[in-house]
């Protein structure tokens, strides 16, 4: 079984980059175009891990984390925050909301996979 990733980002470029990297690394890739879309898709996709951007229209990344963590049964799914903000307070805020980890944009293949490995145990 492939590890299922749900990526939530409003940037087509980032989605395509994620898709290229993840599919090549053998992940099953799904994407949503904004926070609301991501939360809506969550149940259909039932991902093993969520990667979400922070700055998005219609529900930002913090909102996504809060909603997903609020859904009881899903509360354990790892959520990685994808963000250009390397500022510590941004990470702290994400973690307070319940984020599992973070990936700093621009990301490279290795650090992306490394991050996924640490939260899903997936072997790429």
């Amino acid at each position: 079984m492939k590890t299922k990733v749900l990526a939530i980002d409003d940037s087509r470029t980032i989605r395509n980059l994620l898709a290229a990297t993840l599919e090549e690394a053998g992940f099953e890739y799904h994407c949503a175009v904004d926070g609301r879309d991501g939360v809506d898709m969550y149940d259909d996709v039932a991902p093993d891990v969520v990667i979400t951007d922070i700055n998005m229209p219609n529900l930002d990344g913090f909102g996504v984390i809060e909603e997903l963590r609020g859904e009881g049964i899903n509360s354990k799914v790892p959520i990685l925050v994808l963000t250009t903000e390397s500022a510590p307070e941004m990470k702290a805020r994400a973690r307070d909301a319940g984020a599992t980890g973070w990936i700093t944009k621009p990301f490279d293949d290795q650090s992306l996979i490394f991050a996924l490995k640490r939260v899903t145990g997936a072997v790429a």
Partner: protein
């Protein structure tokens, strides 16, 4: 559709820049709604994010500052005053330049770039200036960090999660799995703290692990594994080689910083005290280029959901469809013609069906054409920038007001309108709008206004550029035209004729070469561009009040309504839009004027006759065969002429076939079409025929124009 991820990025940039522009325009107009500011922030942010992925450092650095200032605005730390808005507008222009440079190569004005950055930094909170973004771009003096020896070390790791960790979705097991990739790992569970079952709280954490890892990796790699749980666990990592390693590292650091060894042993330099995060980030920088190329292989298949229910279609496919529909219509007329030629008594049923066929074909055609139609909004948005730049280059104050932005026009028309509009707007600022003080002196507001509007008008598109400036300085324009020999000294011209002198080739009223004018392009270039689109341009001016340029364009470049005529045994088509009236002439209506001029008298008015056949070089100008039919046409200046043709057949919609690439530019011919019998017919350009004609009797504006070209 081909498209590497980088292409996607630049495509997306266009959309983002557009959204940013739109937002800024709203902000400029006084709309400081947080959501508008947010949208701009997101647009800039996404550009930065994408640019970072492709290692476009300059773009990232600029977008970062831009974004930071917006963040301040968002958090109400900085007020959006006029000065800041102007700066942000200039920055948005610069950002699109940077995107263009990243895409197409080239350079930007460094001085301008630095000035904008300095301007932005004024608004930036010093603390917030996030320098973590810079190192990849700076590439400054690198500190030779000690290379980890490829020596195997044994690490003793104690890991005790706090209960907070479990709320974040981090699983110890996965962390261990990641650790085990660094080398052989021994995991021992320490359950000594586990209380009795009764005392156990469900959400608390009681377990701890003692791990032994043998690896050649440095300690930082192990810390990196625990990056996400830092602060959510008790963690200690000890290595058997710790002591030596630290010493070596410090020695190297001290050497690099020129600090004497002993003092700092207990107090290492702060930047390097930071834990793991530093490990992943720097790795990212040397890679982006490779990544972009390897990613290229992946196509857009990964795009599973789009933001809007739209379809991205290759333009070529649409054009093929348009061509096919054009053929269908031609085919219909061929069929109709052949059926009409049949010797059948009762054709009524067939004709009814044929009519239905025709209507369907038209419907399909309209539908297909509408695919190519796009709102003029993005074009208009770009024009706001032109006005801004022109204003600052001429020290004037002008704003652009747009109307009818949602008017849809053929994509090609929009693309080709960009240059003429740019030119007209620059002209309006440069020559039309007065200096702020001058405006004030005559009771106008200091800010000049240029109104750019688009609307549909009976089957065509009307673009209007109206300024509230000084209007055309007619005496001056006339004087220049005389000085340049464009008109004779004693020429009597109407106001409208004088205004239209601006369109003569090489005409320029600038007394001095300003930053904007004097580039060797005049309004004649604008006129040619509009004419090439099958459109017309006209100027009307009100001294002291301003000028209005009106551009009338066909809705589509693919079909038009034409009058089918015969000229020297050839079938030709004249665009209906240029014909005022058609009439059969009799000998007594023709009056000679001079040696070769002829005038047609229509209800007491005399109009110069232009024999199309001779103008096209298909017949000797002096042949005495009198053409029987006249098409009364009116030029933009309001000058009427009668085009003499041999006969008129009918009026019909024709599919325009460009002659580009088939043959060079033919004077008097705009394009070609295929008629019902499969023959090709030339589509004439009446204005051009008149300009090229040598048989016009009066010395009209067009005639002068041809003289100007010839001289």
């Amino acid at each position: 559709m081909s498209g590497s991820i980088q292409d996607t990025f630049f495509e997306e940039c266009e959309e983002l820049l557009e959204a940013m522009d739109e937002g800024l325009t709203a902000v400029e107009g006084g709309d400081h709604d947080p959501e508008v500011v947010n949208a701009i922030f997101r647009a800039v942010h996404s550009i930065k994010g994408g640019a970072g992925a492709f290692g476009l450092d300059e773009l990232v650095a600029f977008a970062h500052r831009f974004e930071t200032v917006f963040d301040e605005v968002r958090n109400n730390k900085v007020e959006l005053d006029t000065k800041l808005i102007q700066l942000l507008l200039r920055c948005s222009d610069h950002l699109s330049d940077l995107v263009a440079v990243a895409r197409d190569g080239g350079t930007t004005d460094e001085e301008h770039h630095d000035a904008l950055i300095a301007g932005l930094e004024e608004y930036m909170d010093d603390e917030e200036e996030d320098l973590t973004f810079e190192p990849m771009g700076l590439g400054g003096p690198s500190v030779p960090l000690p290379l980890a020896a490829e020596e195997e070390k044994t690490y003793e790791i104690r890991f005790r999660p706090l209960k907070e960790m479990f709320g974040t979705g981090n699983e110890p097991f996965f962390l261990f799995q990641a650790l085990s990739e660094l080398g052989p790992l021994k995991v021992v569970l320490d359950e000594s703290e586990l209380p009795g079952f009764d005392a156990m709280a469900m959400d608390d954490s009681y377990l701890a692990w003692n791990l032994t890892l043998t690896s050649t990796e440095p300690k930082s790699s192990i810390e990196a594994v625990f990056e996400f749980v830092e602060g959510l666990c008790e963690l200690s990592i000890a290595s058997d080689k710790d002591a030596e390693e630290e010493e070596a590292a410090l020695a190297a650091l001290n050497a690099a910083f020129g600090v004497s060894g002993d003092d700092s042993v207990t107090d290492p330099p702060a930047p390097f005290d930071a834990p793991a995060p530093a490990v992943t980030a720097p790795e990212a920088s040397p890679q982006p280029v490779e990544k972009a190329s390897s990613a290229k292989a992946e196509s857009t298949k990964s795009e599973q959901r789009g933001p809007k229910p739209t379809l991205r279609v290759d333009l070529e496919r649409v054009d093929r469809l348009i061509n096919a529909v054009g053929e269908l219509i031609i085919n219909h007329s061929m069929l109709a013609q052949q059926i009409a030629n049949l010797d059948v008594a009762d054709l009524r049923d067939v004709e009814t069906e044929l009519e239905g066929f025709k209507n369907l074909a038209r419907d399909i055609q309209e539908g297909v054409m509408s695919i190519r139609a796009q709102p003029v909004k993005p074009l208009f948005q770009r024009m706001a920038r032109i006005v801004r730049e022109a204003s600052s280059a001429t020290n004037k104050v002008a704003k652009l007001v747009t109307e009818g932005e949602n008017t849809e026009v053929d994509k090609t028309v929009i693309e080709r309108l960009s240059d003429p509009l740019t030119h007209i707007l620059r002209n309006a600022v440069d020559h039309g709008i007065e200096k702020p003080d001058d405006r004030e002196a005559i009771g106008k507001s200091r800010t000049g206004e240029i109104r750019l509007s688009a609307s549909h008008r009976s089957g065509s598109v009307c673009i209007e550029i109206k300024d509230d400036g000084a209007g055309v300085n007619r005496p001056r324009v006339k004087q220049i035209a005389i000085e340049k020999g464009l008109i004779p000294e004693n020429a009597e011209l109407s106001d409208s004729e004088i205004d239209n002198l601006l369109f003569l080739p090489g005409f320029s009223t600038a007394k001095e070469v300003s930053n904007l004018s004097g580039r060797g392009v005049g309004m004649d270039v604008v006129k040619n561009a509009v004419t090439a689109l099958g459109g017309r341009i006209n100027i009307s001016s009100n001294p002291g009040k301003g000028s209005t340029f009106t551009i009338i364009l066909p809705l589509t470049l693919a079909v038009m309504d034409g009058m089918v005529v015969s000229v020297a045994d050839q079938t030709m088509v004249v665009p209906i839009t240029s014909i005022v009236e058609t009439m059969r002439g009799s000998d007594d209506m023709i009056n000679s004027l001079g040696a070769d001029g002829t005038l047609l008298s229509i209800r007491g008015n005399f109009v110069p006759i232009c024999d199309v056949a001779s103008a096209l070089g298909l017949r000797n100008p002096n042949s005495d065969q009198p053409p029987g039919v006249y098409l009364l046409v009116e030029t933009e200046t309001g000058q009427k002429s009668a085009l003499a043709v041999d006969d008129i057949h009918d009026q019909r919609q024709v599919v325009i076939k460009s002659l580009d690439g088939v043959c060079g530019n033919i004077p008097g011919v705009a394009a070609a079409t295929i008629l019902g019998d499969g023959k090709i017919a030339m589509i004439l350009d009446p204005e051009n025929i008149l300009a090229a004609s040598t048989s016009s009797a009066t010395f009209d504006t067009e005639r002068r124009m041809s003289n100007a070209i010839a001289s």
